[in-house]
Amino acid sequence: MASVVLSEAEKVYIVHGIQEDLRVDGRGCEDYRCIEVETDVVSNTSGSARVKLGHTDILVGVKAEMGTPKLENPNEGYLEFFVDCSANATPEFEGRGGEELATEIVNTLYRIFSNESTIDVKSLCINPREHCWVLYVDVLLLECGGNLFDAISIAVKAALFNTRIPKVRVLEDEEGSKEIELSDDPYDCIRLNVENVPCIITLSKIGCRHVVDATLQEEACSLASLLLSVTSRGTLTCMKKLGNGSLDPESIFEMMETGKRVGKMLHTSLQKILDKEESLGTTRQKVGFLG
C-alpha cells in the first residue's frame, strides 16, 4: 500500500486531535471527504464510473460478454473482478509490485458479491447451461490517498448502475439449435438493479476512538481497522478486520453501529447523485479528467 512516513510528533498530533473529534482537515470522526462520482467516462465499456475521494482516484469499467454458465450454477450469469494497481499511484506498484494489494482487494470484492442477494445473477442468464452474460468488472487504481476500499465499492456500485447490457432474443429453429440475436437498436438494453449492492465502510481505530474515511496519514497512525460491507437498508453482509493491532469486542460493536449509520447515509447520497445524473440523460456534459 502506498504509505507516508510520519514523525512521532505528527502521530501524536493526529491522535490527540481525534480524541477531541477534530481531524487534521477539520472533519469530525464520522465525516467523509468530498466525493466526486461520474459515470460513463469510458466509451468502450458497457458501463463505467470514476470516483474521486480526496486524493484517491478510482476508475471502474464493466464489460458484458457472452459466456458459458458455471457448472454449479447453470441458470445464472456471473461477475469477474480484476484490480489493476497502476504505477501511477506510486512507483512501488511498477511491474508486479501492486499484485499483493490487488489480490486482497479482489478477494474482498468476491466475498461481498458472492452473496446471492447482491446482484440478481439469474437475469444474466440467456440459455440455461449454454449461454449467459459474464460481467467483467475491472478496477483501475489511479491514485492512492487512503481509504481505498470505500472508494472502490462506491465506484463498482456506480459502474454497475451505469451498465447497459444489450437485449438478446433466443431463436430456435426446426433442428433445435438455438441462435442468439442481438437487438438492432443500440439503446435497447437491460439495466441492473443495484439496490442491494453494498458499500464498504472502513473504520480505523486511532487512539481510543474510531474514524471513517481515513487519509494516508491517519492510516499510518491507526492500529487496526474494521472493514464492513453495508447495504442501503443498514444490513451488514461482510466484516473483516485489517491491520496489525488488536481490537477488543466492545469497540467492534461500537464500530459496527457507526458503520451502519454512516453506510445508510452514504447510500442515500450516492443514489441521489446517480439518479440526478440519470435524469440529465444525454444532455449531461461529460467532464472526465478534463475538469
Partner: protein, 245 residues
C-alpha cells in the same frame, strides 16, 4: 469490412476528416496532486494518462545507476477495458514491453539527463481508451507530464502517426484506419529543431512515397505542438494567477 472506404472520392475519411486533419486534441496538466507531474490527453477517442515521478534516488539496484546521467524508466500499460475486446493483462505482454522501450528511447533523447547523475526519472503512461494512435497519445501526454514535473527538456516531444492510401498521405490514424492493414508510420519529433526522436514504419511502403508520408507526419506533429504549447501556457497562467502573482 467490405465496402468501407478509408478515403472517399471527395477526400473525406471514415470519421469525416480530411487527409491531413488531426483529431480533436484536449489536454490537461496537473491531474493528480500526489505525483510530481501528471497530464491527461484526449486525441479523438483515444484517452491517455501520464504520470512522472522524479528525479529521485535510484530505487532497487544501485548498480544500475549511471554515473553521468539520469536513468529514464518507463512503463506503458493499457487498462483492461480500453480496447473493444477485453485485454487480459494490462502490461507485461510483448506489445506493452515494446512500447515501453520506445517511450524510453524517445524521452532519453529529449530530457536533459546530464543534469541529474545517479538518479532516476519514472514515466508511467496508462491508456484508458484505445482508438488508434496509442503510442502518439502516450508521448504527447508524457511530454506534458514531464513539463508539469519541472524536468528540463531540450524541446517538446510531439508524436503523430501517418498512413498512405491511394497516393494520399493521411495524418493521425484512428483504429479503423490502423486495422485496415495499410502502411503506417509513427513519428516522434522535437518540433523546433526538426529532430526525429523515434521513427517506426509498419507494412509495405514504396520508398518514393516515404518522404511524403514523413512530411505529413511532421506537419501533424507540429500541429500537435501548437496545441500542447497553448495548453502549457494556459496552465502556467492559471497556476500563477492562483498563487497571486
Amino acid at each position: 469490412m467490405a465496402g468501407l472506404e478509408l478515403l472517399s472520392d471527395e477526400g473525406y475519411r471514415v470519421d469525416g476528416r480530411r487527409a491531413g486533419e488531426l483529431r480533436k486534441v484536449r489536454a490537461r496538466m496537473g491531474v493528480f496532486a500526489q505525483a510530481d507531474g501528471s497530464a491527461y490527453i484526449e486525441q479523438g477517442n483515444t484517452k491517455a494518462l501520464a504520470v512522472v515521478y522524479g528525479p529521485h534516488e535510484m530505487r532497487g539496484s544501485r548498480s544500475k545507476a549511471l554515473h553521468d546521467r539520469a536513468l529514464v524508466n518507463c512503463q506503458y500499460s493499457m487498462a483492461t477495458f480500453s480496447t473493444g475486446e477485453r485485454k487480459r493483462r494490462p502490461h507485461g505482454d510483448r506489445k506493452s514491453s515494446e512500447m515501453t522501450l520506445h517511450l524510453k528511447q524517445t524521452f532519453e533523447a529529449a530530457i536533459l539527463t546530464q543534469l541529474y547523475p545517479r538518479s532516476q526519472i519514472d514515466i508511467y503512461v496508462q491508456i484508458l481508451q484505445a482508438d488508434g494512435g496509442n503510442y502518439c497519445a502516450c508521448v504527447n501526454a508524457a511530454t506534458l507530464a514531464t513539463i508539469d514535473a519541472g524536468i528540463p527538456m531540450r524541446d517538446y516531444v510531439c508524436a503523430s502517426s501517418a498512413g498512405f492510401i491511394e497516393d494520399t498521405p493521411l495524418a493521425d490514424l484512428n483504429y479503423v484506419e490502423e486495422a485496415a492493414g495499410g502502411p503506417q508510420v509513427a513519428l516522434a519529433l522535437l518540433p523546433k529543431s526538426d529532430q526525429i526522436a523515434l521513427l517506426e514504419m509498419n507494412s509495405r511502403l514504396h520508398e518514393d512515397h516515404l518522404e511524403q508520408v514523413i512530411e505529413a507526419a511532421s506537419k501533424a506533429c507540429k500541429d500537435v505542438y501548437a496545441v500542447l504549447d497553448q495548453v502549457v501556457r494556459d496552465h502556467v497562467h492559471e497556476v500563477t494567477t492562483l498563487l497571486g502573482e
